[in-house]
């Protein structure tokens, strides 16, 4: 699934509620063929971005295209995108089988075999009403509904936030299995960094309604370094090294820097960063815009 059309492309995208911008000035192009982790603290704008991408909301400014089309603009576009909404809603009064029938009636590309197999694997009773399923089972049912639609892009909004650890692991395993089998584009939001670390190969970090950084996980890991050495000012670092976070003790300074060039200064002890540390650094002590210009350093 490597083609030129991005999975999601946003230009100057913004959404305002009253005076508050839930998402501002969002410009990004997520290439196809990835499992994208959309990460950020609560209230950073993850759900807003996803709602715009699924067409649940209309943007206040800018544009957003999903797989090259306007979100939810017509049945064809709707068929290409699967969506598992936050808290994985289901129709309480309908049975598991009714949900599958719903999917079959409303989606031309419905894969009844896939839906049936998944329900069997999960051990769900088709006659059971959705209201009586556990949170994990409901999430799995919602995922089944989205998958059997045979979408090209699957969007999940905090699908596992409310699940217990066992259900969370099962959900993520199911998701990884399917993405491997179907070559599916996936965008999944979470404020649980560890969960994304296990599945995502591309990251979008949102903080305070703005995109902080986007990129492939491998690239991000290769270009971020943790430098420890004698105390120095951030300004004394070369321009090629963008400081993300810094901390100082009496004699020692620690910098998390982003640099496409290798760090060769012998004064530094250079360490690799884990993805979790990297995401936490951007979420907690953001200092750069996605374009890489230095704006400010906050401690």
């Amino acid at each position: 699934m490597t083609n030129a059309i991005p999975a999601i492309e946003a230009r100057g995208l913004g959404k305002r509620y009253g005076h508050r911008w839930a998402l501002a000035d969002c410009t990004l192009a997520i290439p196809a063929g990835h499992v994208v982790g959309l990460v950020g603290p609560n209230g950073a704008g993850k759900t807003t971005l996803i709602s715009l991408a699924t067409g649940m909301l209309a943007p206040t400014t800018g544009t957003i295209e999903v797989l090259g089309g306007l979100p939810a603009s017509d049945p064809g576009q709707l068929a290409r995108v699967g969506y598992v909404a936050q808290d994985t809603p289901t129709y309480a009064g309908l049975s598991v089988a009714d949900h599958l029938r719903l999917g079959a009636h409303l989606n031309p590309r419905w894969d009844a075999g896939l839906a049936r197999r998944r329900i069997e694997q999960l051990g769900l009773d088709p006659k059971q009403k959705a209201a009586r399923l556990s949170g994990g089972q409901r999430a799995q049912l919602a995922l089944t509904l989205a998958l059997a639609k045979r979408p090209e892009l699957l969007i999940l909004d905090e699908p596992i936030a409310s699940l217990d650890p066992v259900a969370r692991r099962e959900f993520l395993q199911a998701l990884m299995r399917v993405t491997a089998e179907q070559e599916l584009n996936v965008v999944m939001s979470s404020h649980l960094v560890a969960d994304l670390e296990r599945v995502a190969d591309y990251l979008v970090v949102l903080v305070d309604s703005r995109v902080r950084i986007t990129g492939e996980v491998d690239d991000l890991l290769a270009t971020h370094h943790l430098l420890t050495g004698p105390r120095r000012q951030a300004a004394s670092l070369p321009d090629s090294q963008q400081v993300i976070t810094e901390s100082h003790t009496g004699r020692q300074s620690t910098f998390l820097v982003r640099s496409t060039e290798p760090v060769i200064d012998p004064a530094w002890t250079v360490e690799e960063v884990s993805l979790e540390d990297l995401m936490l650094a951007y979420m907690g002590h953001a200092s750069g815009s996605p374009q890489g210009q230095r704006l400010e350093v906050r401690q």
Binding site: L57, A58, P89, Y91, H105
Partner: protein
């Protein structure tokens, strides 16, 4: 989409079908008795001047049938409101409140189609329910309506001017504002509007209970406004001015105390007409303040001096009658004739259906606006 709409609507549809069946069973079981009474009173064979036969029939209608007649009217008036509250208001509000709209709007069906199919199918079900109810009740009550149209009145409050055909409080002319609402095609329009009001309130408020409250208030307001302020003018009302003379009037005297009561009778006699205004005027057009119009006819609240008995002397009715005649009183009546029943029914139903369609458009537009994450 049709399947999902039906699947979600199924419990309400079954409840409505059961209620309709129960009503139908009771009415079908009791109707033969009513028909028999109609035939026995000679009304089936009567083609002209049937008022007496009609009155005989209406006098004989039993208490249980009177109750059913009343219950039928009540049911048809209440049913559209119930459908607006319990079918209309939750239709979309409940999806948004439960978050299930996020499932529905992300299948391969556009939101516009989703809204139109839901609105259309459940709306048609509401209209059909009201239609069946109206059909059954109108059929059951047709002997009573026919007798009323023939000029009959129960336990004859005769001596009236024939305008107000009262049946001892259990049925009236079908142009009467309350009866009009419960007959013919109008209930279809009411059901459509109540339902559309419910859905619209639900879409705008996004919560079921407040939407139900708003629907009830709005629908009741419309149902009060319509007969009182709009329906009288849907067709230009007819107008008639007739002389009131003491020859037609009834002067009740009591040998000891003199006149007890003066009732004047006009020549207006149109069974089933809907009287919008009924006043007594003098030749100059003034309305004497001491004459009130009662269902039985105009009555003096203060007796003219010539008609006031003098204590101690025998009462002489002649000068009283002469005084009344010299006043040249007339009765001025504005009314909708009974023949306007069907034109008014169709016009009103059309208005309600148009309003409902307009509200449906508002719903589609609001759902398309995409402001509900």
């Amino acid at each position: 989409m049709i399947w999902l709409t039906w699947r979600q609507f199924r419990p309400q549809a079954i409840a409505a079908a059961c209620a309709l069946a129960a009503v139908a069973i009771v009415l079908v079981a009791t109707r033969p008795g009513l028909s028999a009474g109609y035939t026995a009173a000679g009304l089936s064979a009567c083609h002209a001047h049937c008022a007496t036969a009609a009155s005989i029939f209406l006098d004989r209608v039993g208490n249980f049938d009177k109750f059913l007649d009343f219950a039928g009217v009540l049911l048809i008036i209440v049913a559209p409101a119930l459908m607006g509250l319990f079918w209309g208001a939750p239709l979309i509000a409940r999806e948004v409140a439960d978050g299930t709209h996020r499932i529905a709007w992300n299948q391969s069906v556009t939101r516009t189609r989703w809204t139109i199919v839901k609105l259309g199918l459940v709306g048609l079900a509401a209209i059909a329910t009201a239609g069946l109810l109206s059909l059954i009740v109108t059929w059951w009550t047709s002997p009573i309506d026919a007798a009323s149209l023939a000029g009959g009145s129960a336990q004859a409050a005769t001596g009236g001017n024939g305008v107000h055909v009262t049946f001892n409080g259990f049925a009236e002319a079908r142009l009467d504002p309350v009866i009009f609402d419960a007959r013919g095609v109008a209930p279809l329009g009411y059901a459509a509007l109540a339902f559309a009001l419910g859905v619209t309130a639900g879409v705008l408020l996004r919560r079921t209970l407040p939407a139900m409250a708003v629907t009830l208030v709005a629908f009741v307001a419309i149902q009060v406004l319509m007969p009182n302020f709009i329906r009288p003018h849907l067709l230009p009302p007819a107008h008639i001015t007739t002389p009131l003379s003491t020859q037609h009037g009834q002067v009740n005297t009591n040998a000891g105390t003199g006149i007890t009561d003066i009732q004047l009778t006009g020549s207006f006699n149109q069974p089933g007409a809907w009287v919008l205004s009924d006043v007594v005027i003098t030749p100059s057009g003034a309305q004497p303040s001491d004459i009130v119009v009662t269902p039985a006819g105009p009555e003096f609240t203060v007796l003219p001096r010539a008609c006031t008995p003098t204590p101690g002397s025998a009462f002489n009715p002649v000068p009283c009658r002469e005084t009344l005649a010299a006043m040249h009183l007339r009765q001025s009546i504005t009314y909708q004739p009974a023949s306007r029943f069907w034109p008014l029914q169709w016009i009103e139903t059309g208005i309600y259906l148009l309003l409902a369609a307009g509200l449906g458009g508002v719903c589609v537009w609001q759902v398309r606006r995409r402001r509900t994450p």
